[in-house]
Amino acid sequence: MSDPMAEIKASFFIECEELLEALQDGLQSMYDGEGDAETVNVVFRAVHSIKGGAGAFGLDGLVGFAHRFETALDDLRSGKLDTDPHLLKLFFTCNDVLGDLVRECRDEVPHDSAKLDPVLAELDTLIGGVQSEDQTAETVDFEVTPLSLDLSLDGQDDETVSDPIWKIRFQPGPMLYANGNEPLFLFRALRDIGDLSVTCDHNDLPPLAELDCEHAHIGWTLTLETTEGRAAIAEAFDFVEGLCTLDIKQKETGSSNLEALVPLPPLGGDAEWPADNGAPDLPRNDQVNSAPTIEQGNFPEVAETPAARLEAAPPAERKTGAGAAAPRATVRVDLDRIDRLVNLVGEIVLNQAMLSQSVQAAGIPPNSPVSTGLEEFQQLTRDIQESVMMIRAQPVKSLFQRMSRIVREASAAIGKDVRLRTDGENTEVDKTVIERLADPLTHMIRNAVDHGLEANDVRERMGKAREGSVFLTAVHRSGRVVIEVADDGAGIDRDKVFRKAVEKDLIPADSQLSDGEIDNLLFLPGFSTADEVSNLSGRGVGMDVVRSAIQSLGGRISIQSEPGHGTTFSISLPLTLAVLDGMVVNVAGETLVVPLNSIFETLAVTQEDLRAFGPSTHVVNIRDSFVPLIDLGAELGYRAPLDDYTGGVVLLIGQEDGLAAAVVVDAIEDQRQVVIKGLQESYGRVPGIAAATILGDGQIALILDPIDLITQASGRTRPKAPRHQISNHENLNSSGAEE
């Protein structure tokens, strides 16, 4: 972007997002009854700043709406309006609409008037339609209103008069200087529009002894020959209007009858013109505000101007005590640059690991300087890696604020009073994780409002608060971030879920399932059904899609529910997508990495655990349930299936709703964090493989996508029909194929 205005515009939209965030925060604390006078100010300023910037870029629609919103907020600030819940709800809606308008402006798409108009109408009613209409028009036009002196008389302001001569009598009052005005600059401005000569009137100048330095004693008479009209002359005196005695009079003109017809009224009650005495001798007292005679083209430096005094002033004492709330300095950086840094740091980590291996291989003793130096290097590398990852991290706040809107809209749509309570908004997570969490969270929040919470009346009858609560929290826990979506609703109706699952053929009717297992049926593809689809969450998206989205981020999702008290979904996510905790395994001479979050446990298979299921398929008995056995070497085509898996190392791969498979490998080598290298970009998608990484020896190891692997499994070691598992995966399979 080379156009500086385009850059500022882009940055304006970023700033808008920040302002919208502050706006929502403010509204929320007002809604929670925590707001004070400053909260209203913050909210007002946010809207005000958006309006200001929008005006600068000519975004009229945005300005118009922001102006009305601002007016309403101003009424609130001045006490004309009361903070009742209804008003705040309207303000929340305004906040949403404002956000939409900002984004529409940013994306250069037309405004959605269907959404906008009703809110505008409501705002107009609130602030008194007609009057606001006028105000809006005035402000939307945003003429840079030269606050004119209004000295011109009707008909007098003839700009086409040829070379008329103006006589201007200018007597500053004391406040003129106190406000930082400097006559010299006014004269220069006049000089710019014509031929100017200036005479100083110092008749009022008292003897030096009586000189009151706070008083302006000197006035000027200016003669200006200009083609410009009165308005242009008056404009130069814009800022000093009221601070001086000013009289602007046309001396001669090509059509001199004008003056005769409309004589100028004297200003400041002084109609007498002082004599034109030419340049007077000015007292060289630097407390006297003075200017020498100024002739066109010859402006001597005025030593005694306030500005000059200012420059001579000693530098002020330095004050370093920065206020606690001082704005934090930030730098905006292109994401590509950060990603490059992330990649390079990944390289350093790898390089360091390779170096360590070589040092070890060279037989250098652990206590040697080389080894200790290397250890320090290792520590530094880790610190650098963490710091770099933090650059990409962002607070989840923006995400939570979006959810707040979802709650408002969802609850309004079905007529439930719902309040979103958030905690841990400043918890930081990788930017990409945040972006990709929006959809699954939206769905979960909608679900909570729609299905989780009872209707208000029902709640009241049950002795609960009429207003339902949805809780959205984020917290860092042992190197991961845990996000919870909870409601204080009725909890999962397990009988209903079970019946539905049986109806849908997801489980056999005689299944014996624990409460937890029943709850987890919600994650099965095809569980979400049309008859429970309301106008809210019914978008053909089920919790299975939510779960896959979370898993694709390296996360896990689990569910807890207590009848009568509510349901909690917990999402546990890695802090960054750039590294992954993996188990390094060996199979058929190849090294692979299995994401730790997919492994339930590892064990060695004994003879008793193994059951042949078909001619070439096996199942493993894990605590009385049979789990299909998958030979990783065979699945990936590294080798033919083995005859006997006894003694083999098995990784139990599963999801929260149960085990999906037992994956056989030859050996487990290590458990470590690996830097993820995309395979998709350089090669393309490989079934069963999520990505690649580079190990300490410089070799590339593939990172397994266990769920994909199980889904794609050829079945050579897998039984064909392990009941509900099968339907589960077949569905996964077909949905996967669509993508």
Binding site: L636, G688, I694
Partner: protein, 159 residues
């Protein structure tokens, strides 16, 4: 931009381009030097499951994952190649960077457009579609490899 476009332009403006020539299964091939990123020794590649036979796997090229293609196999030559002793020419075509495993790198040739001729029309020969032009140098026939045809797009592979 199509990489082979310039090569296919037989109008003969006399401009001379440089080509890197190499041996695959005893035959001479070359690619536009502008498409060559680097030449490096063979390394043990990590096998990619479910990949076409000509894909040797991936290697670590200074931290990036570089797919390695066995060119002889791609050209349907069925010659035994010794992974460790081969040479890998890293080429870029469009957005993709691929390592081509060849027997040996021969020379850098300056070939003028006028000396390039379209390949003979031999529909039965698989190689034909991979060769965009031919030239004769010191009694040897050198084939200009059409990289866009040789390197499948990632979409194709994903399918």
């Amino acid at each position: 931009m199509t990489d082979s476009e310039a090569i296919k332009d037989y109008s003969g403006d006399g401009s001379v381009r440089e080509y890197l020539s190499f041996l695959v299964g005893g035959q001479d091939y070359c690619v536009d030097i502008m498409q060559v990123r680097e030449i490096r020794g063979g390394a043990k590649a990590t096998t990619l499951p479910h990949s076409p036979s000509f894909m040797r796997g991936v290697i670590n090229l200074r931290g990036t994952v570089l797919p390695i293609m066995d060119l002889a196999c791609r050209l349907d030559m069925h010659t035994e190649t010794d992974t460790q002793r081969n040479v890998i020419i890293v080429v870029a075509t469009g957005e993709r960077v691929v390592g081509l495993m060849v027997d040996a790198v021969s020379d850098i040739l300056a070939i003028s457009h006028e000396d390039l001729q379209p390949p003979p029309d031999l529909p039965a020969d698989q190689q034909r579609s991979f060769v965009s032009a031919l030239t004769i140098m010191e009694n040897r026939m050198i084939r200009v490899l059409d990289l866009t045809a040789v390197v499948p797009s990632s979409d194709e592979e994903a399918a």
